[in-house]
Symmetry: C2
Subunit: 346 residues, 2 copies
């Protein structure tokens, strides 16, 4: 680090003690005016700037937001959180705030990080991602009074009417419902769904959207849907499983682009329309229709819930609103515009 | 932030002044032993921990590394820096360091951010990405004595023998040369190259690797190569342009996966082997062979060059080594294993 002027330099030039310089900076009223003028002249002469750490001590503000850097997954669906992180960094910057990244391999490890960040007063607030049912992280943060917002609603409690904390989320139910209605409008009568095992907050919402958008009978719904863990090969296997049943889907909606990409590859020869979720770069690259999350809006909303429309001062705890539910939109590409016999090959 | 015990609380409990508590924490030798014991008991009783900002003031260390969050591009090639950022965060965490993200839309804006980070003593060092010829950022950092390492070599100066600063890079020359030799070994005689306009540090290195790996005559090399800006449609257009020439390529290497994806889509019907660069998630998803950068090693090397094999103390300025050049490797997928007549369709 460059040799910046220090408080000692200021004290030497002004001919006062270090403590007096500190008093001029922090409690100028208690310093005699002639002394204060001399110290201020020395500060100006040296171009001394109070250390950010010292400023933080005085203001009790770090102007910093903590967020966990999630482990790198397959880069397909994981790209969503990277996009959110990009938006959040840019919009925090516009408020003269910065992001502090940390890692954690489990909720328990993340709670240890919270404690360190709290003890160090390193952050003014946290943005939590990937919330889940009975999330111990949010409980800990509430108990310990650390301000935070979740990207993802507080699954399993009355999130809309009595939220326990600030949250922003994208309405996956509405996104999938609209996509299902689009496929029905295009003539599909047996829209299938490849989702994740229940309970999964996001997964269950998306499945519910498919059910309401298709209005299938319970028997048809059971026949036309399957649950699997996320991944491209898993999507292929699930699509083949659905096609081997008595009632076969004539279109598919998947809970993620990873699953949809697998389904698209497995059904390429049949020309079945496929819709994914997340509108990842892979979807754009291979012509996969997908449900797009408004991640820029989500980042803006997270900051607004914490800090209001601008600036970096935390809102009062009783201010409304406490949450934002954002609408996604369907991006239509080649995978849902198939002429008869046309394949989805690149 | 939770109401943590403050230095004032400690002072009240111990029945001493704030300054005495500060002395016990910072210069215990000057405090009478009985007073010191009383203050330490109060600290233990309250669970008081010195504020991280105060600790930073004393140690002059932030244990924080600054890095720019680059703008979100198409998510194909941009994913490389996201992967690097993931690795860097995880490996910094193992050293009990954290990453501070900032944004900048131009080198000039980034230099303003440097000045702010310097004035605030917010970071101990910087990791610079996307270096380029005559990069004003590195000049500024050298002049201002801020420790940094670049991911990307200092193009345009004698980087190997007289580096002006720490750097880590991946040897794109060797990666493309090996890929070209692989294609020649598989029987290709007219390996084409789709690259970026010169001068481009990384682009020119990759083109040189293609030339040395193919040993084409100058005339053939001119006929079989084309330069274009990066992007999927640009890759398609470039491939079609090469195929329209008198000498047609029987295999293609591209300077990025974006270009390669475009080339792969444009040449699908011809079954021409295509190799990309960066081994992005899109490449894995569509079966595109690609040159993989060892980003985990790059992140580890960046930290080792700054801080040595472990810990968070900066190395002495005269310590060797000053740089690391890492070898990439070719990941072979379907796009280079085409049976006659087989297409690269998904």
């Amino acid at each position: 680090m460059a040799q910046l002027p220090t408080v000692d330099d200021v004290a030497r030039i002004a001919g006062v003690s270090r403590q007096t310089v500190s008093n001029v900076l922090n409690t100028p009223a208690i310093v005699k005016e002639t002394t204060r003028t001399r110290v201020q002249a020395a500060i100006a002469q040296l171009g001394y700037r109070p250390h950010a750490s010292a400023r933080r001590l005085r203001t009790q503000k770090s102007s910093t937001i903590g967020i966990r850097m999630e482990g790198y997954k397959d880069g397909v669906s994981g790209a969503v959180l990277d996009r959110f992180l990009h938006s959040l960094t840019e919009q925090a910057d516009a408020r003269e705030m910065r992001l502090l990244l940390y890692t954690a391999e489990s909720p328990e490890q993340e709670i240890e990080q919270f404690a360190r960040l709290r003890d160090g007063a390193d952050v003014d607030a946290l943005v939590l991602t990937s919330t889940f049912h009975n999330d111990p992280r949010t409980e800990w943060l509430i108990e310990n009074g650390m301000p935070f917002v979740t990207f993802g609603r507080p699954w399993g409690i009355d999130d809309m009417n009595d939220p326990q904390h600030l949250w922003v989320d994208v309405d996956g139910y509405a996104g999938v419902r609209d996509a299902a209605q689009y496929l029905v409008g295009e003539g599909a009568t047996r829209v299938g769904f490849i989702g994740w095992p229940s309970p999964s907050g996001t997964g269950d919402e998306r499945r519910r959207g498919w059910l309401d958008g298709t209005r299938l009978s319970p028997a048809d719904a059971a026949a036309l849907s399957v649950a699997t863990t996320d991944g491209v090969p898993e999507g292929s296997a699930a699509a083949l499983e659905l096609l081997a049943r008595d009632i076969q889907p004539d279109a598919l909606i998947c809970a993620s682009d990873s699953l949809a990409l697998g389904a698209m590859m497995a059904t390429a020869a049949l020309g079945i329309p496929v819709i994914g979720y997340d509108n990842t770069p892979v979807a754009a690259a291979v012509g996969l229709s997908s449900i797009d999350q408004p991640l820029g809006d989500a980042a803006a909303s997270a900051l607004e819930l914490l800090f209001g429309p601008s600036g970096s001062n935390l809102r009062a705890a009783n201010e409304e609103p406490k949450h934002r539910l954002l609408a996604p939109r369907l991006v239509v590409r080649r995978s849902t515009h198939l002429a008869p016999g046309e394949t989805t090959g690149t």
